[in-house]
């Protein structure tokens, strides 16, 4: 029993160390990378433009639900005028960065893990190695650097659309004065909240894209399956672990910044 626990703990420590080295190597590879700008733009397009619909839809519905729930709760205390405060702080501090990151994990992260897993399976990554191409610089670094910019942008968009969603359900459907809603939004949002939002978004971007790339890149090391199943298993692991790490990192960052 003790031996099993020890072995399991060691394998977790080993994997964490391996993941840290992988991420470090990916950043270090940026120094000697050729034509990195184009790859970053392409990665930005994949993470940004392709994920835009899901960010807009989920952001809008999150705002609509927050507006609806918040209005009825605040109405009990006669404080409907604070709806803008509730919606904006919920979105900026927590829901915006977390939900946007989870959506990006579901779309861009899973696609990245599967793509790298297939490239590993079909020897495309081995081909890059034999050509003398830095696989980290070519495959991972652009995605990581793009994520540091795209995640905060997508989060800002998510929050903006969410605020409009809250306004729609609060003002248009439930009769709250739009001026009251937007003035409470303006009063509630402060610079530290915005900073916290962007710090969280960038951190989630770095962690999730790196984790998805790590699992896809190492799909051949999957011990439980081979071939297409290894790609499937590594993609699943990438999405599950990324989702967990978003929530765990959210708690840690919040506890330091609040």
């Amino acid at each position: 029993m003790l031996r099993t626990v020890g072995r399991y703990s060691l394998s977790i420590v080993h994997e964490l160390g391996d993941f840290a080295l992988f991420t470090g190597r990916s950043f270090r590879s940026a120094l000697g990378a050729r034509r990195l700008g184009r790859r970053i733009v392409r990665a930005g397009f994949e993470q940004g433009v392709r994920c835009l619909p899901v960010i807009l839809i989920v952001g809008m519905f999150t705002g609509l639900v927050l507006g609806l729930q918040g209005y009825y709760v605040l109405n009990r205390f006669g404080s409907e005028g604070l709806l803008g405060t509730l919606v904006s702080l919920s979105l900026i501090r927590e829901l915006g960065p977390v939900l946007a990151a989870l959506m990006l994990v579901g779309q861009a992260g899973s696609a990245l893990a599967a793509e790298l897993g297939i490239q590993r399976n079909t020897e495309q990554i081995a081909a890059l190695e034999t050509m003398g191409v830095s696989t980290h610089a070519y495959l991972v670094t652009p995605r990581l650097l793009a994520a540091l910019v795209v995640y905060p942008m997508q989060t800002a968009l998510f929050v903006t659309v969410g605020l409009w969603g809250g306004s729609l359900s609060g003002s248009l459907l439930l009769g709250l004065e739009p001026g009251v809603y937007w003035s409470s939004v303006e009063r509630a949002i402060s610079a530290p909240d915005v900073r916290e939002c962007f710090i969280k978004a960038a951190t989630f971007g770095l962690l999730t894209i790196s984790l998805c790339a790590y699992h896809g890149f190492n799909a051949h090391r999957c011990s439980s399956a081979t071939g297409a199943r290894a790609v499937s298993a590594s993609t699943t692991r990438a999405v599950v672990q990324s989702s967990i790490i978003v929530l765990a990192a959210d708690y840690i960052i919040t506890s330091f910044l609040v």
Partner: protein, 270 residues
């Protein structure tokens, strides 16, 4: 057994050893590859041919032994020597390993884009030139999945030669192909090897094609190089292991000949 040649060597492999857990795949394999020649390494499936090639390409690290390229040893950890070797050597995978999300032109341009500082215009010109030489220029905008098996093989070769390598490693280039296509692929390798002047090291289990196209052949059996010499010497060899391999290939050849006769009859009928 390593046969000496009078020609200057481009590649010298000595006592290569590789095991995967309890399975010894290479057990002291040695080989000399003269510059400008086409050398085929023969062997049955599982003899360690592909692992030998992957050790050369540094995709797999050998446990022991040495590899000398152009007189200089390739040592693990010597980044400069490895980079120089990779710049001067190309690898053609059994599966072609083409980038399926890139067009034919982008596939060929990739090694130049990522390993050289050439301007975009020159990269495009050189890539198009490589496609033209392999008769693929008309398909430059197609993706690998839109090309036939033979075209994919040629595209992989175009990608391999675009960097103007001195050595090209071919991993089972005819695996999974029918007899007629096997002949065509070997003929293609021999033609372009002479046209571009690179040194070719081909691992294969196709005896007939290898004997016709190669300057030298070697036989790998149970991780060791059992024979190394010219195709004529291979044919005349009385060594048991060579004889066994020839006999098994002859039996296959008779079957294939019968198949070819059958195809010819069908063609005449139609």
């Amino acid at each position: 057994m390593v046969a000496e040649t009078n020609q200057p060597l481009l590649l010298r492999i000595e006592g290569l050893f590789k095991r995967f857990q309890d399975n010894v795949v290479l057990d002291g394999a040695s080989l000399n590859v003269p510059r400008g020649s086409l050398v085929s390494v023969l062997g049955r499936s599982g003899a360690g041919k592909s692992v030998l090639l992957k050790c050369l390409a540094n995709v797999v690290q050998p446990d022991a032994g040495s590899i000398h390229f152009d007189g200089k040893p390739l040592t693990v950890g010597d980044a400069a020597a490895l980079a120089d070797f990779r710049r001067r050597c190309s690898f053609l995978f059994q599966s072609n390993a083409l980038f399926d999300s890139l067009t034919a032109l982008e596939n060929v341009a990739l090694p130049l884009e990522q390993t050289t500082d050439l301007p975009d215009k020159e990269i495009r010109e050189r890539s198009l030139e490589a496609l033209r030489q392999l008769e693929l220029e008309a398909h430059q905008d197609r993706y690998p999945s839109q090309l036939s098996g033979g075209m994919q093989k040629r595209l992989a070769l175009a990608r391999a030669i675009v960097t103007r390598p001195e050595l090209v490693l071919f991993d089972e280039p005819t695996a999974g192909l029918d007899p007629l296509r096997r002949n065509a692929v070997f003929a293609m390798i021999a033609k372009y090897q002479r046209q571009f002047g690179f040194t070719a090291l081909v691992v294969t289990h196709d005896l007939t094609e290898a004997l016709i196209a190669s300057d030298r052949v070697a036989l790998l059996d149970k991780g060791r190089m059992c024979f190394e010499g010219s195709p004529a010497e291979f044919t005349a060899s009385t060594a048991t292991v060579v004889g066994d391999f020839r006999d098994s290939a002859d039996a296959l050849g008779r079957t294939l000949a019968a198949m070819r006769r059958g195809e010819a009859l069908q063609t005449e009928d139609s």
